[in-house]
């Protein structure tokens, strides 16, 4: 069990962690969430006695780490995957750590097998990818077969297979009765892995609850109701009827209504009674990611601003042509490809303009998820065989021209997918 009481850490006049108190219990995976720079790693380092708290204390099994008897056999940690001498082989790195705690060399080969690095054990870790580095770090944490495990962002740089492996590993370790403390800035990952959540922002505790409580507290079901755009008075009418029936109605930006507190059939009945036609009545669930972002909103230290690019773009020298975009590589898919005959004309205006049936996001995601030319009926997609961008093109900002009527970048990859896959006129 890890127990922090009033933990505070200041670097000069910057407070990294302030008055943090929590307990990490054995037999469960405890997720440690927070935005970048919120103090997660600092807290981890204080747990391991690497940084001295300015005030407060943190103990493992009742002892401060630096006074813990035989600490490396009790506590294993992955702090920084790159904290390895690049010239040393993976095996020698682990061997030096094993020898420190009197662990036999046989165990080194065992953990190398567990993390799947046995084939590169003799290679210098300089050439390791971030994912391989993470695996090496996890191997180091597992060396002493410890009862308490700390992992700082263990899935960074891992491939999907590796992420699944780490997830199952954490669960298995916790199921064996160990204390597992995992930091992450990905709510979605923690929702799948952790049993308990500790959320911090700006070094202060925001939430300390089980994942189940977090989900039920934060992911309320709601229905989205859309009335005909052409008759705004119908919307008012329906809104009034729903509120009267005990529902909670919240207008959304695009004219739809977000309704909570009423089941879908009841909404339909009420609309029917009020004589209001519906264009949409759909069930939705607020994502955990949204809930997490709401919670940490005020505590984000590093927020991006819009890139103005003012004056940065260099004028092309006279006579030079802008680089020819490669079909399907990064450029927005809704541009018609340069026709070979025209040669010097790389950009053609979007076919039909922004308001046309196959608008920007009409064709793009279809190309991302479907086979080339799959969705019949998308005029541009059929007419233009190069219009299917690679999946990353959907998220990549348009390099030259901002997409007309493009929605704001999705906060969570999963959430707005339902909207963007539909052509605008189908909503």
């Amino acid at each position: 069990m890890i127990e922090a009481v009033g933990l505070t850490k200041r670097y000069g006049d910057k407070t990294a962690v302030y008055n943090l108190s929590f307990q990490v219990r054995p037999g469960a995976v405890t997720g440690f969430l927070g935005p970048n720079g919120s103090g997660k790693s600092t807290t981890m380092r204080m747990i391991l006695g690497l940084d001295n708290p300015t005030s407060g204390q943190v103990t493992i099994g009742g002892h401060p780490y630096r006074r813990l008897p035989n600490a490396p056999r009790q506590v294993g940690a992955l702090l920084d995957a790159k904290a390895v001498h690049g010239g040393r082989s993976a095996r020698n790195h682990l061997l030096s750590l094993a020898q420190l705690s009197g662990i036999p060399a046989r165990r080194v080969d065992e953990v190398l097998g567990v993390v799947g690095l046995q084939d590169v054990a003799k290679k210098r870790s300089k050439g390791f990818s971030l994912g391989m580095g993470q695996r090496l770090g996890i191997a180091a944490a597992l060396l002493g077969d410890p009862q308490v495990l700390l992992f700082d962002e263990p899935v960074n740089g891992l491939d999907p297979e590796g992420i699944l492996w780490v997830r199952n590993l954490m669960k298995a370790l916790a199921a064996e009765g160990r204390t597992v403390f995992v930091s992450s800035h990905l709510m979605s990952e923690m929702a799948l892995t952790a049993d308990h959540l500790i959320v911090i922002g700006r070094g202060q505790l925001l939430a300390d609850m089980s994942v189940r409580d977090f989900i039920s507290a934060n992911s309320a079901d709601f229905a989205r109701v859309r009335t005909p755009d052409t008759e705004p008075q119908l919307r008012e009418k329906l809104g009034a009827a729903l509120t009267e029936a005990g529902g909670h109605v919240l207008p959304e930006q695009d004219g739809a209504l977000r309704v909570t507190g009423l089941p879908l059939p009841r909404i339909s009945d009420l609309a029917h009674e009020a004589g209001v036609r519906l264009w949409e009545l759909s069930p939705h669930q607020a994502s955990l990611e949204e809930a997490y972002m709401r919670m940490t909103q005020g505590a984000v230290d590093y927020r991006s601003t819009t890139d103005q690019k003012a004056g940065l773009q260099q004028p092309l020298p006279p006579g030079a042509e802008p680089p020819m975009p490669v079909p399907g590589q990064g450029q927005p898919g809704w541009y018609a490809p340069p026709s070979p005959q025209q040669g010097g004309q790389p950009f053609v205006m979007p076919a039909g303009g922004p308001g046309a049936p196959a608008g920007p996001y009409g064709g793009a995601p279809a190309g991302a998820y479907g086979a080339p030319g799959a969705p019949a009926g998308h005029g541009a997609a059929v007419a233009n065989p190069y219009a299917q961008p690679a999946p990353q093109a959907v998220q990549a900002p348009a390099p030259a021209t901002p997409a007309p009527a493009a929605p704001a970048a999705p906060p969570a990859p999963a959430a707005p997918a339902a909207d963007t896959t539909q052509p605008e006129d189908a909503r």
Partner: protein, 271 residues
């Protein structure tokens, strides 16, 4: 703490802990290529320059002034490469300590050895022992090869003061390396440590010892005091200490550097 735990963790005795740290540090030091490079450069440079200067001295012996011929110290002549060779020893000492910091490995190491004194002195003991072995080999090799170059003017190991000078040469190189480790433990950055130590030992210390006004203080600098033990023939400019006294002064510098490194490591956050 947990129901799964079978018993209390095995309480290791302090001596067992030290042996583990030593074994681990030996694995660390032998598994990086910088160890081999820096130490072999130290050996090659010291022996190479020692042989060269010895050969030149032999050729020029007849043209030397009588006074110089009479005070010729063949042992010290063959150690002429120490000035440069010690720089490689400094690099060795600095890298052994600072690569923990530059790679971030220090956090892994200190998480594994919460007793920071055991970590630092274990590392320095292993690196120092290696430096002692290499230093002794270098010192004896450079003596014998240098004397071979000197031909008729050579000194023998049995001559007065010679064995002490040769053993002292090995100790000198060791102490230089350990001093660098202490300084590096205080400074943590390889660039900063090398940027201070290299010019200090190559230039500043020699300048201070050569200029009259600073000569008295310059004699007490670690390399000036320590190098006295490598002279088999006593010099006219009597320093206020003998060969072993000089080495003692150097050892005090080393102890001070190590104490500073330990005090800072114990107090500071590990990063």
């Amino acid at each position: 703490m947990t129901s799964v735990r079978t018993g209390r963790p095995r309480q290791t005795s302090p001596t067992a802990g030290v042996a583990q740290v030593l074994r681990s540090e030996w694995t660390k030091i032998r598994s990086v290529s910088s160890t081999g490079w820096t130490l072999s450069v130290a050996v090659v440079v010291t022996i190479g320059i020692g042989m060269l200067i010895s050969a030149l001295t032999r050729n020029e012996y007849d043209t030397m002034p009588v006074r110089e011929r009479l005070t010729l110290d063949p042992t010290f002549v063959s150690f002429a490469g120490m000035t440069l060779g010690q720089l490689a020893m400094i690099v060795f000492g600095v890298l052994v300590v600072t690569n923990e910091y530059s790679t971030g490995m220090i956090r892994v190491s200190l998480a594994a050895v919460p007793r920071r004194g055991a970590f630092l002195f274990g590392k320095i003991a292993v690196a120092g022992a290696l430096a002692l072995v290499v230093g002794m080999i270098t010192s004896f090799a450079t003596f014998f090869l240098g004397q071979a170059m000197l031909g008729p003017y050579r000194a023998g190991l049995g001559d007065p003061g010679v064995l002490r000078a040769v053993v002292g040469g090995g100790l000198y190189l060791t102490l230089i390396a350990v001093f660098s480790m202490g300084v590096a433990a205080m400074l943590r950055s390889p660039l900063l440590s090398l940027g201070i130590l290299m010019p200090f030992f190559f230039l500043i210390s020699n300048i201070l010892a050569a200029v009259d006004s600073t000569k008295k203080a310059g004699r007490f600098l670690p390399d000036q005091a320590g190098s006295r033990i490598m002279q088999a023939v006593p010099r006219a400019d009597e320093a206020p200490y003998g060969p072993w006294g000089g080495l003692g002064i150097m050892a005090l510098w080393v102890i001070a550097a190590l104490a500073g490194g330990y005090a800072l490591l114990r107090r500071r956050d590990a990063q």
